[in-house]
Point group: C2
Chain length 305, copies 2
């Protein structure tokens, strides 16, 4: 029996008669094929990538496993529709904290139709994409069994964060106290185990970066890095199972012998944010951040992050 996923942070959501992805109880994620060329393009990327023997194993692990396409009952009640069958990335996770970061200052490929270019360019200029080289497109931060999750009040506010606001959000993502009182300084209690260490987020991002410095097969427009970990594991001294995955390949194009300098530039910018949190932990308690938090339009009065 397919159901609506619990932990989706970005993209179209199923439920209430809308079309969206579904999951089963054995770890599969069913993503409806977008009707236009985007659906076909995503299938063709997964097909190419999953049969590409030049991709090393330490890189394929950053991509969801692909199991072809399948007709399943669509969530919007339109009957059997084609879906991508992918790995459910949060299948065996308990209360995962998740962020979705759309990488690249430019979300449109060079030869896209003009109206699409203009639409994307407008959004890139209005959001953090142009100044930062990426934009946060979703976040779901576990606070406690009692308080549940923090989520941004509206989708567009999180896409337009300033550099300081992104830094604060990334600190809150790995803090133990972020959930309790809105004006408490994030303690970055889990920064060293989630972002740091030989298997942490930073280390994984650097592996991905090294591949992007070299690979000239694919250009990933409008693709996201998903960042996940489990706070309750971290709280009791266990490995928080920090992990990154790339998702959303409806706008992947052939690299034609050139590296994906747009994705790589944005990835390096994101890496710099993460590494600054690790190298200057004292900042976590800086008063300026507190002020930022209070001023910020995404941090509401009702507390949480």
């Amino acid at each position: 029996m397919l159901k609506v996923p619990d932990h989706q942070v970005a993209g179209h959501k199923a439920g209430g008669g809308r079309l969206g992805p579904l999951v089963d109880d054995s770890g599969r994620f069913y993503k409806p094929l977008q009707g236009d060329e985007r659906g076909a393009n995503e299938v063709s990327f997964y097909t190419s990538f999953s049969s590409n023997t030049k991709i090393p194993d330490h890189i394929t692990r950053f991509f969801p496993k692909f199991d072809g396409t399948q007709l399943v009952e669509a969530s919007d009640g339109t009957g059997m529709q084609p879906h991508l069958v992918l790995q459910d990335l949060t299948f065996d996770r308990v209360n995962p904290s998740i962020m979705d970061i759309k990488i690249g200052s430019r979300t449109w490929p060079p030869h896209a139709p003009e109206d699409y270019v203009q639409k994307c360019l407008k959004k890139d200029r209005e959001t953090s994409s142009l100044p930062l080289g990426f934009r946060v497109s979703g976040a779901r931060i576990f606070q406690s069994t009692k308080s549940g999750y923090w989520e941004p009040e509206n989708k567009s506010s999180i896409q337009t964060l300033s550099a300081d606001e992104v830094k604060l959000l990334l600190k809150n993502f790995v803090s133990s106290n972020a959930s309790e009182v809105s004006h408490m300084k994030p303690d970055c209690a889990f920064a060293s185990t989630v972002y740091g260490g030989s298997t942490g987020i930073l280390s994984q991002l650097l592996e991905l970066k090294a591949w992007f410095e070299d690979q000239t097969s694919y250009h990933f427009y409008s693709c996201s890095v998903l960042m996940m970990f489990e706070k309750e594991l971290a709280s009791c001294g266990k490995s928080p199972r920090a992990e990154i995955k790339l998702v959303d390949f409806a706008h992947v194009h052939e690299g034609k012998g050139v590296i994906d300098h747009n994705f790589l530039g944005g990835l390096c910018s994101f890496i710099k944010f993460i590494s600054e949190i690790l190298t200057t932990p004292e900042d976590c308690a800086a008063d300026s951040l507190l002020e930022d938090a209070q001023k910020s339009h995404i941090y509401s009065d009702n507390g949480s992050v």
Copy 2:
């Protein structure tokens, strides 16, 4: 006595009553201040950069030395005009080969006036900037005392090269035979000494890259990497004095805590081109390149590169 420089490959040129840079006989380069805010912006960049104690020495060496501004007799006959006093980068060089590569897929800063954005965006889309992350904006390749220099027939053709054409140009830049017959395969005779080695171009580019992965002070829009060496030194087994310099800072803006992901992405793309020539030298003799050379619109019948 000031004179028109011998080795300028891009930008406005003096001579014939036009305004352009001048050089003296003691190694100084006088660049007229552009009348609008660009001139003031370039002065303020040089002033800030030259007094910035956080820039390590191994990075400042990639920038022309700056000696303030000075009123000198302008080349267009308009009398005494303000000029930037800079280092003449080719002052003590004999028959230097030079390439000017404008780095970044985007030459406009986020908050530029709309007409400027549209003008730059159009050019970025029409040239190699968008697909490659950089565009060649000038080249002057020494062939021999007898044949002199190869230069592109017109400025715009060199800015619109495909990936394969750029690769070929970069090979010809370091080849001993490129000058003789147009349909000869570039032998890349000087690739290992010019591009390779611990003091070669690639090594310098990688040092620059490491700085760009970290620095958040400046964003360099529409700035170029100049690449120089002396073929005659290379031919007789001496060090070819391969060197990169950054030039053109009229569109540098504050980084505001974010890395220059646009410049960094383009730089990494350029680095990949150079490193491919070093790692796959056998390609230099590939027939496909020969065919490219013959088809290419920048390689004219009258021979040379």
